[in-house]
């Protein structure tokens, strides 16, 4: 079990380090939380479009407890996220079979998706 947790922590760190410098990104929850999950929000990105643009990376929106609801996560709102920030939240989950290459791909896809959607939005330079 210790080996599994170490594996998860390493993957989570690779993922977070790969996206932490995205402008406006926010880590939801503690950096010392369960190592198999990383939930982030980013300012001014529409969540449904972000989800589609991340394919084929399988992620979820919002917090786990709100995964079947279209409403902004009450958990994320409780920790101070605005409705807009909550709806852009993406939950990455890693597990025993997850590889470093997959995590690196996820980080690359996330950065690309955020950049593309921001360039597409009114008020941002193309």
């Amino acid at each position: 079990m210790d080996a599994d947790l170490t594996h998860l922590r390493e993957l989570r760190e690779v993922l977070w380090n790969g996206i932490r410098d995205v402008d406006g990104i926010m880590l939801n929850g503690s950096a010392d939380g369960f190592p198999g999950i990383l939930t982030v929000s980013v300012a001014d990105i529409e969540g449904e479009s972000l989800l589609l643009d991340l394919e084929p990376v399988c992620v979820a929106t919002g917090s786990a407890c709100n995964s079947k609801s279209q409403e902004p996560s009450y958990v994320l709102r409780a920790i101070g996220r605005t409705d807009l920030e909550a709806q852009s939240a993406i939950r990455f989950s890693v597990g025993r079979p997850t590889t470093r290459a997959e995590v690196e791909l996820a980080a690359t896809k996330y950065r690309g998706a955020v950049a593309r959607l921001r360039a597409m939005a009114p008020g941002r330079a193309a």
């Binding site: 529409e46 449904e48 479009s49 589609l52 643009d53 597409m120 939005a121 009114p122 008020g123």
Partner: protein
């Protein structure tokens, strides 16, 4: 019943839009409503829409619809701005009923653009 929320047309238009941007020397309209933001801009010449671009903050259906619409209107007479292709958009993109409001935002932006041209003519 399929659980796939996006048909192939939406996926294609969303992933590879050719009309994102703004026309520098044309008219533009911006609509903020229904939880989305949509900017349309167009350049007119010789009674036709020669260039049309969009910028959108919203769901994939809105982005796909805006892309589809720009491709549809480019090359058409300016009068086409008054005849919003609601049915083709809804059908071709299989827009779910709960997102009808986003398409209405697109229609508002088109009509606003048409009114601006009319004001400048």
């Amino acid at each position: 019943m399929s659980s796939e929320p996006y048909n192939p047309a939406v996926r294609e238009l969303f992933s590879a839009p050719a009309h994102v941007g703004a026309v520098d020397d044309g008219e533009s309209s911006l609509v903020v409503d229904q939880g989305v933001r949509l900017q349309l801009s167009a350049r007119f010449s010789g009674g036709s829409i020669v260039e049309m671009r969009f910028k959108a903050w919203g769901c994939p259906h809105l982005i796909a619809a805006a892309e589809w619409l720009c491709g549809y209107l480019e090359g058409r007479p300016i009068g086409a701005l008054e005849d919003f292709p609601h049915a083709p958009i809804m059908e071709n993109l299989a827009i779910p009923m709960e997102k009808t409001g986003r398409i209405l935002v697109l229609e508002d932006a088109v009509r606003s653009l048409g009114q601006k041209f009319g004001d400048g003519s």
